[in-house]
Symmetry: C2
């Protein structure tokens, strides 16, 4: 019998009927003899509705973060209690625990707290007594004040992984509304296939580059603590995708496919500073300014000096939602930076090819660029890591690019059986 | 400047607009220099909606009380956080506290916990720092497990009084949707008048006998700790009704009116066991059975033996909601009890005349009975305390009875100016 941590997101507990369905599932697992810890998010759109209420009462003024966290954690309180009640009514004992009661200690960064420690003594006692433990996701408690904190959007995945690590669970199941991780988004690539297995390293690259199926921090946490995640559907009993962290030795033995999947991202924009003086420190000053505006930069391209007067162009990508703030910050110090023009382009897309086998296989870039050329897709920017190649295209070309690359690397359904693991989010 | 504890019920914080109105009021009090602790209930019908959800997921099965309390306390979390955010956005610093953080320690009777102690250290610090403290009503924490508990229906009034006592507040304001305590329910007696003052002793009698304006336990707590309550409207700045607990000395000095108000109660039913053997222990056995069914009996009447065969009739009143359980319990031991028939009458009403001055004024009963006789109202049962006379009538006669008695004791608007204090709920 196993110790299983199972996380159910908001769409899996959106109303009484879906909570009842989850309760049936959990009661069944317990009846089979497993020890089960369930992590739940707030029901459906509860969190968004609470944020909306807060905006209404504060008339747009900034809300104190501590009180926002008290507000937002009410949603998980409701879902965790209802799920415990539903399981209990099926003849299986269940107890609900807040993040604090589950021992999730965090720092005091309200709204985006980091887990410092997990002391799950009450959960252990609960399991030993034969009960299912239901835990509120997304929340913890800070050590100094004993105030509730939240882990940021998608934080329930991180709660689940952190509890799985602290309890040395056999697996951390992440239930969602799709069947697992796919070689590409099936809405764009109908021939995309669910993959049985993906390494946490690859999953991290995919999550960081557009795959939305798992919260980046949860995968980092799982990788650091060697927790196996199992991404699967709450609407079926099918196997999903296992996200594993092989040891170096295991990795040697694994038949690593060259490419595991194609991720894409439409949420970025590109800013180009034209005619920046090509002198030491110019780029540094520019990116200090961008960082000061709170934006995370993804790719950077600096052309070789093309202007007669010793000037250059610097392009970078960033979350599209940050463009207004960054543009304003740069224009505020325009004189100092000395660029001649600022071009903002929100119409870009990013394609990322991810695969651990890339390390030992040269020629992947050449094949990627060839496939895009044959599909008539122009490449605007390129960046690479050890196991990933990303290119920026125009937003209009992105779907064509994803399909062409998916086919070129033999990921389409007919051939995908040979691919052992890999994939990307929905 | 005063230290004021102000409690706002669910109807005062039912939506964003009403929360904003309460925030304006509190910000105004703080700006005038008062130290303010605000106790809030859940928004509007939140608690009923949560109970409804619990019933849906448990398919009618009994829900575990500990988890029900976790569920129900989510409502106050939302309202307390929203109110703190709303006040903060008006430029007045405010912090929200759970029952636990406010130091409300209770026993472990989930669903109906009693306050054991209040240690409001965090509230004191909050006030000293110049902030308004917002506290979740209706909830506490038990000492052994650190689990959240609820104080039962209307428990937010008790939270407010308990905090006022612990903080030695100058007054505990209870904001509601009526202007205060009236000499009778204005919907039945249009000439009923708001009263400026009522003693906690009288308020207790009224609350116990149908006046719904204050939760019985909160008045008991206020009486025991000498807390002055001020019942007033959240929709106006008018003075409401002050519920005071005079010392014996003060009481001597007060011009106590004979009658302070007329309460009524439609929620009771009457059960008559006909032909009970008139032997020692028969009544005891009957009421053991009733108590075993969990019902609180109000009035009891045992006729003198009227049957030829040494039998008697025993009638008692109880909450109408308990009649089915009590009837079943009695019928289960019918043979042992030996009664010949059981009559259940849900169509009764109870009128209670309350007034501290009754102690020193004989003749009140006679005047009451005379007024009812003149109005053609038949009296079915009578019970009295030191400062109260209650009669049971048919439900159809209750409104007529209340109006007749209100007039007979000079409580109607034209004369009410002479009445210093007294009244009844809406």
């Amino acid at each position: 019998m196993s110790l299983i941590v199972s996380k159910f997101g908001g769409s899996s507990v959106s109303d009484a009927a879906s909570i009842s369905r989850v309760a049936d599932r959990i009661a069944g697992m317990r009846t089979q003899g497993h020890d089960v810890v369930v992590v739940v998010s707030a029901m459906g759109d509860t969190t968004d509705e609470l944020i909306d209420l807060a905006e209404q009462v504060s008339a747009g003024g900034a809300a104190p973060q501590r009180e926002m966290d008290i507000l937002l954690t009410a949603g998980e309180r409701i879902s965790m209690a209802l799920l415990a009640i539903a399981i209990h009514s099926r003849g299986v004992s269940a107890q609900a625990f807040t993040g604090q009661q589950a021992g999730v200690l965090t720092d005091s960064a309200y709204g985006n707290a980091r887990i410092l420690d997990v002391t799950p003594g009450r959960l252990t006692s609960c399991l030993e007594s034969g009960s299912v433990a239901i835990v509120a996701g997304f929340q913890g408690v800070n050590e100094d004040a004993g105030d509730v904190t939240t882990l940021g959007r998608g934080g329930s995945d991180t709660t689940a992984v952190a509890l799985a690590a602290a309890l040395r669970a056999d697996v951390c199941e992440i239930y969602t509304d799709v069947d697992g991780v796919f070689t590409a988004d099936p809405r764009i690539v109908p021939t995309a296939r669910r993959l049985a297995r993906v390494t946490s390293e690859e999953m991290l690259e995919m999550a960081a580059h557009g795959a939305k199926i798992l919260h980046l921090r949860s995968v980092e946490y799982a990788r650091r603590h060697g927790v196996e995640m199992h991404v699967r559907s709450s609407f079926s009993m099918l196997e999903g995708t296992r996200v594993v962290t092989p040891t170096d030795e295991e990795e040697q033995l694994m038949e690593a496919p060259i490419i595991s999947g194609v991720a894409h991202d439409r949420s970025q924009a590109k800013i180009t500073a034209v005619g920046v003086p090509d002198v030491p420190g110019a780029a540094a000053r520019l990116f200090e300014t961008v960082a000061g505006a709170g934006a995370n930069i993804d790719m950077i391209v600096q052309n070789v000096s093309v202007h007669e007067t010793g000037r250059t162009d610097i392009s970078f990508t960033l979350p599209a939602t940050d463009t207004d703030a960054v543009r304003a910050a740069i224009e505020a110090v325009a004189e100092e930076l000395g660029h001649t023009e600022l071009i903002v382009n929100a119409g870009i897309g990013k394609l990322s090819l991810v695969g651990a086998g890339m390390r030992s296989h040269p020629g992947v870039s050449a094949k990627l660029f060839g496939a895009l050329r044959d599909a008539g897709v122009n490449i605007e920017m390129i960046s690479t890591s050890e196991i990933r190649i990303s290119v920026v295209t125009s937003a209009d070309d992105l779907d064509t690019a994803v399909r062409a690359v998916h086919t070129a690397f033999g990921l389409d359904a007919a051939e995908v059986e040979a691919v052992v693991y890999g994939g990307t989010g929905r």
